[in-house]
């Protein structure tokens, strides 16, 4: 299945924007910087929300209210990582195709996004007390596991 995708990866790598990114000395490195800003913001939100779900921080404020207040920042963080991630990806698509770290990253990213907009969203938008503390803790751990999985697999891309 993955083998059949190779021609598409090759095509992406040969598009004019991909050429442009490779030719510039700065675009790739600056995209990496903003990718890291996005990571800090996004994972920071995952950590603080997980702490709250585990009852370790901001207990006096409802989870739903915190989620609502942090939404612009989490959307900002997600937009930042995805847009800069695309810039990084298209410039070296075939390298990513052959990279085991990249495959795991995409798998974790898919699961993390799926969980973000299903399970996590359901729990964090619910009224206080609707879900048991243990359910909320498991949700927090799954979110941490999936998003840190994305980050760790992402870091591994550089070393394979």
């Amino acid at each position: 299945m993955w083998d059949k995708l190779y021609p598409y990866f090759l095509w992406i790598e040969n598009t004019p924007p991909a050429h442009g990114i490779r030719q510039s000395k700065w675009i790739f490195s600056v995209a990496e910087v903003f990718h890291l800003f996005g990571l800090t913001l996004l994972l920071g939100i995952v950590v603080i929300l997980s702490l709250r779900l585990c009852g370790l921080a901001l207990q006096r404020k409802d989870v739903a209210a915190i989620t609502r207040e942090l939404r612009p920042l989490s959307i900002g963080g997600l937009t930042l990582v995805l847009s800069t991630g695309i810039i990084l990806f298209i410039s070296e698509a075939t390298k990513c195709w052959g990279n085991v770290g990249f495959r795991y990253k995409m798998l974790f990213l898919f699961l993390a996004l799926l969980f973000q907009f299903t399970g996590l969203q359901k729990i964090t938008r619910a009224a206080e007390g609707r879900f048991s503390p243990i359910t909320r803790k498991i949700t927090a751990f799954v979110a941490i596991f999936l998003w840190f999985g994305v980050a760790i697999a992402g870091r591994a891309i550089a070393f394979f």
Binding site: S29, L43, V47, L51
Partner: protein, 198 residues
Amino acid sequence: MGLRGNRGDHDPVLLRNWKLTNTVVGFTGVQGDPLQSLLGIFHYIDATQSSTSLRESFYVFPVVEGIHVISLAISVGLVIWFDLRLVGLILKDQPVSAVFRPIRPFMLTGFGIMFATGIALFWALALRCYASPFFWIKMVFLLLAGINIGIYHFTIDRRQTEWDSMTVPPTRARIAGLVSLVLWIGVIAAGRLMAYFL
């Protein structure tokens, strides 16, 4: 000045460091004396056995670097919330202390991991760090961030009980929060660029 007769003749690592300092830094004298110059100290660190093994290790270096990058989530990733509360942008209905106190142990752990892994990475690449302008920019930002924390801690933070519940804290506290945000953004940017151009 050539390398003839120097210790570096037979040691590939020392030889590489020689070339690096000669070309990048423009250093053309004898190897720096650790007691006389900063470069000498960096040279000394770079030539130690521990530095060499870390630099050339197949697994340890990437793992340490990975931990250093991903711990951003629990160091800077958490300090953001405190800074944004100080500036008066988020969680305004919560006292500043209610935002800060619970996250402090996690944040301090994050910064502890950051410093430990950061020192290890520096130890492995001391000479390349010396030659990188981004390394020095990062150090300046870190120093300023430390000074900012110190000033905040010994001045406005002393009277925190007076303004703990204010939706928008006093100007001096807001400035401290804003300066902290800007400096950490600078540290991340300089750190990432440093790794890219090493």
